[in-house]
């Protein structure tokens, strides 16, 4: 029974079934979605930790793979992320009381001057799906906004996205200001025009070509912090 619910939830996230009212995917029309199944699972006594790890994180992993292999595209991936979010909302109380531990806090935003956010949104949803608490500052985020949040969450890791050559240079002053305010804070950067070499040259701690690379690095940071 419990296993069945976990499998069902996995499927909802993999195929982007948000809730019973969502018409997508057509073959699951009228059936309960991630929202309802999570509630059912919690009532049935499934451990929230298991919901997070065996359904949500595992499914988002698979979704990420399918995206990399071009089996699915941006809309399908965003729908999976929405389904995951619908489930995650029911887990929030367990995060808050500490019964389920998240890996850390991830502050993310698109650098000032830049309005591209599809990649940043995918990243933020995937990172959340990987078990992190995500604070999304949105697009066109200025230095002060990043620094302010870092001061509020001194243990957080920061992610900065840029899609334009004209704006990727804006990341450098942001990193400088973050490091000045909080020298131990780690920063990862990404976005289509960036490279690992560029990231290193502006003082970033890491570069992620895609959310999966980002998550691997983030998880390493979390292990270091918790040791």
């Amino acid at each position: 029974m419990k296993l069945e619910l976990i499998n069902k939830l996995f499927e909802c996230v993999e195929f982007g079934k948000i809730n019973i009212n969502s018409p997508y995917p057509p073959q699951m029309k009228g059936l309960p979605g991630a929202d309802e199944i999570t509630q059912e699972a919690l009532v049935a006594g499934v451990n929230p930790d298991e919901i997070l790890n065996r359904a949500l994180i595992a499914a988002m992993n698979k979704v990420g793979e399918k995206f990399t292999e071009k089996k699915i595209f941006v809309p399908q991936m965003l729908l999976s992320a929405k389904a995951m979010n619908a489930s995650m909302n029911h887990l929030k109380p367990y995060f808050a009381d500490g019964s389920v531990k998240r890996k850390g806090v991830f502050i993310v935003g698109t650098v000032f001057g830049d309005l591209h956010d599809i990649g940043k949104n995918l990243l933020s949803m995937m990172v959340e799906g990987a078990g992190w608490e995500v604070i999304d500052l949105g697009i066109d985020v200025n230095t002060e906004a990043f620094v302010e949040k870092v001061k509020e969450y001194p243990d957080a890791v920061v992610g900065i996205s840029a899609l334009l050559t004209t704006t990727m240079v804006n990341i450098e002053p942001v990193i400088k200001a973050i490091k000045q305010a909080s020298p131990a804070t780690k920063v990862i950067v990404g976005g289509a025009p960036l490279t690992a070499a560029f990231a290193a040259s502006i003082g970033a701690d890491a570069y992620g070509k895609n959310p999966r690379e980002g998550i691997i690095w983030l998880d390493l940071q979390s292990q270091k912090m918790n040791n």
Binding site: I18, V74, P75, L78, L79, N121
Partner: protein
Amino acid sequence: MKEWIDSVLNHKRRQAFPLITHPGIELMGATVKSAVSDGRVQYEAIRAASETFHLSTCSSMMDLTVEAEAFGAKVNMPEDETPRVVGRLLKEMSDVEQLQVPALDQGRLPAYLLANQLCVSNIKERTLFSGCIGPFSLAGRLYDMSEIMVSIYTEPETILLLLSKCSAFLVDYCKAMKSTGTAGVIMAEPAAGLLSDEDCRLYSSDFVKQIVQEVQDDNFTVILHNCGNSGQCTQAMIESGANALHFGNAIDITEALSECPPHLIVMGNLDPVSLFKQSNPDQVKQSTLELLNRTKNYPNFVISSGCDLPPQTPLENIRAFLEAVEEFNRSI
């Protein structure tokens, strides 16, 4: 424009068609802001670029905000960068239902139409193309790009209604551009390149087709630009009925050429940033020649940048590109 299409298809010589309004703006010492808001400045920039580089074709600016602004979206205009849409105009079905298809006197539309008009009357012996955004990308700017990606599945009726309003507007706008006497329009539909082939057909090409049917004829060509397509939605682009397709650097252009029927003009796809902006003239020349050689068996190919060249692209790189095309043409 039949004459121009025939001139491409019937000659071995390669036409060069870089998208170079930003270099034009810089050549005349103007700001991006003045060029996107003053038709006369924009015309002068286009003229400066076409004269400096002796281009046979040129196009008006790729400004992906002017149409959204006409619909009521708020736009922020920095001095030296392309304008930006701020916030989200539409959130739900009722907003879309109330949305009015704007008249052509809204926002900066008159400035763009003036630029087209001035180009046609003053830049002689060149093929001039107008520019506009595509229906899906326009809808995304009004509805939020990430949200529309999800809503095509969760609220398809809302998005289809929005798309029909966007394409109704684009029909009017393209007709007005056509009446200035330009040879066609480059319609930028980058966001549709993030969709699967099937979704690209349903949420972009079907609407592009409506515009094509209203405006395309022997005197006016629709060039459908999609720099987001990495190869998955070429078929959908073909089905739009546009006489020319313009691809970005995300695609393998020989693959696209092999998919496209031989009467269709295929344009692209040198990287505007890593090549034109960030490399040196030698590298530009080399890559241009390499692409020309790789595509030499396709008479329907027109070499171009994969997208608008960004601000501060070195002029010597544009010259190196044009020299390479000349060199190739001499060798055939």
